[in-house]
């Protein structure tokens, strides 16, 4: 069975030859080189192949203005946000360090801001990537949803307070973001000419202990702009894969209603995110992608622990399809490569 078929059949709750697999790593060059060396491969494609990964991403090329960092970051993106790669004991982590709209007080300032332009991206590079990855399930978009993009600009605490205190400002901000996001996604999926299988969006709504905001507040501000992106995906025949980490159980009925096909990453240590219970309560109506714990098992467990968890997940979440096994977030640089090998090799071995 080709990877593409394996993934799409799983999402449709149909039987597959083995469990489909996915892998996301962090943008830490040193760690990725270390992992590639361990597996004896030379680049990302070879690594994904070696790990039996069934999904691939297609990306646009950025051809717009370049941006010099101005406020203490080492990188500035087209939104004006800045980042630093912060070193810790085992590697680096990319951190947001500057929020360009943190100080704005008026709708006018929001409207006068230098918003990015979807025409800054070259979409013509997409068909060749789709051809290259034709046998895999192809993810496109790979973009922040409305909430994540909004606080990238405003700062997380400001954004959360704004939703309580300054709804007019929030609506203006989200409207601007939506203008870019809907155009960008439409352009990406149109360029894919039906070959992009999955629209992938990232919109974190959970903390370790619960939703970061009330579902009521989320519905007031953020459900509609997210729905707009989902609708574009559906129009192009895509499955919708939504990343929303933390404790997001409270939003799942809404996600199902909105047409989300697959929920990622199933942060199993977060409240309400027990995989077996999620499968029991929602497994008929939505598929799951993730669930292999990176907050404990993958970095700190033995190979035996990893294998046991792989088996447990395949048994609990894989029942009746609707499951793609993957780590519960990007694998961090404190993860022994043996554990990465155990995760994917064992999954293939026991699910064939």
């Amino acid at each position: 069975m080709l990877s593409k078929e394996r993934v799409l059949r799983a999402i449709d709750h149909k039987s597959t030859d083995r469990i489909p697999l996915d892998f996301w790593s962090i943008p830490d060059k040193e760690f990725n080189i270390k992992v590639m060396k361990y597996f004896g491969v030379n680049n990302d494609d070879e690594l994904l192949e070696r790990l039996h990964i069934d999904l691939r991403w297609v990306e646009t090329d950025y051809r717009g203005p370049s941006f010099e960092p101005q406020e203490g970051g080492t990188e500035r993106d087209c939104w004006g946000a800045e980042y630093r790669y912060v070193r810790h004991s085992t590697g680096v982590y990319k951190e947001s360090v500057y929020f360009p709209l943190a100080q704005v007080k008026s709708v006018k300032e929001i409207e006068d801001y230098h918003w990015p332009d979807p025409s800054w991206y070259d979409y013509s590079v997409i068909p060749a990537q789709c051809a290259k990855y034709a046998s895999y399930a192809i993810c496109g978009g790979n973009m922040y949803g409305p909430f994540r993009n909004a606080w990238l600009l405003r700062g997380l605490e400001s954004m959360l307070m704004d939703m309580a205190l300054q709804p007019v400002l929030v609506d203006a901000l989200l409207d601007r973001i939506s203008t870019f996001q809907t155009a960008y996604i439409e352009n990406v999926l149109a360029a894919g000419q039906g070959k992009i299988d999955i629209l992938l969006l990232f919109d974190d709504l959970g903390t370790q202990v619960g939703p970061i905001m009330s579902p009521k507040m989320w519905r007031r501000f953020l459900k509609t702009p997210l729905q707009k992106l989902i609708d574009i995906g559906k129009k192009h025949g895509c499955k919708i894969l939504l990343h929303s980490c933390g404790s997001v159980r409270a939003f799942i009925p809404d996600f199902i209603e909105m047409g989300v096909d697959v929920l990622n990453p199933i942060q199993v240590q977060a409240a309400g995110m027990d995989p077996a219970q999620l499968k029991r309560d929602f497994g008929k109506d939505i598929s799951f992608h993730g669930s292999l714990d990176i907050q404990g098992t993958l970095p700190h467990g033995t190979v035996g622990d990893v294998k046991r968890e792989v088996q447990e997940r395949i048994e609990s979440m894989g029942e009746g399809g609707g499951f793609i096994l993957a780590p519960t977030h990007r694998i961090q640089s404190d993860t022994p490569p043996e554990n990465i090998a155990a995760l994917f090799d064992w999954a293939v071995e026991i699910s064939r």
Partner: protein, 210 residues
């Protein structure tokens, strides 16, 4: 006192200007600053903490309540100083070295102030030596350490080691928290308490004082 209840409710609703106005009114009415603090502001934050813990309210509501609390405290502070009101204890808090995440730490900080503590917030990416320096300088009752990532949680161990090496470990209690932290980890590194959320951290801190 009715007005103290009004302060508590205004705080719970995140109405900063109303809290300020009611505090000024209660001072003008010759209420004791300590009473205003405890039955107005801390009472309100106590309710907020409970509701947050129970999942009835969420981070935005806590943030705006804390903002209202800070607004009230700014007005009240000189009167507290004047009447010799002491905080219940002192906490030094920070996110450990290599970690820039602070919303969890900030929520704990808000709950601690809301429980009557004086807070010294060292910010993020705080090295063990900076924690040690802060303990020497401020003589806190408690040091509180936050980490979001599995790749930075080990730094909590390094802070405790640094306190030991400086001969300060037995002068403070150490509290730890953050998404990947748990009881087992806290015990392994020699911390005194692991708190799973901000309201629990404030309760745990009060218990540590006894």
């Amino acid at each position: 006192m009715e007005i103290l209840k009004e302060i508590s409710e205004a705080l719970q609703n995140g109405e900063a200007e109303l809290v300020e106005a009611k505090i000024k009114e209660s001072i003008a009415s010759r209420l004791q600053p300590e009473e205003i603090l405890i039955q107005g502001l801390l009472e309100g934050m106590g309710v907020v903490g409970q509701q947050f813990k129970n999942g009835e309210i969420f981070v935005p509501e806590v943030l705006i309540a804390a903002r209202a609390m800070h607004a009230g405290l700014s007005i009240l502070k000189p009167y507290l100083v004047e009447t010799g009101v002491q905080p219940v204890g002192k906490v030094v808090i920070g996110t450990v070295k290599g970690d820039l995440h602070d919303i969890g730490k900030n929520l704990v900080g808000m709950m601690l102030i809301g429980a009557g503590f004086e807070l010294i917030d060292l910010g993020v990416d705080v090295s063990p030596s900076k924690f040690v320096e802060a303990v020497s300088q401020h003589n806190p009752d408690i040091v509180a350490l936050s980490a979001l990532l599995t790749t930075t949680m080990e730094e909590q161990r390094n802070v405790i080691k640094a306190l030991e090496e400086a001969g300060l470990r037995d002068k403070v209690k150490v509290m730890v928290g953050g998404a990947p932290i748990n009881d087992g980890f806290a015990r392994t590194i020699g911390a005194d308490v692991y708190s799973p959320d901000a309201p629990s951290a404030a309760e745990d801190a009060r218990k540590l004082l006894n």
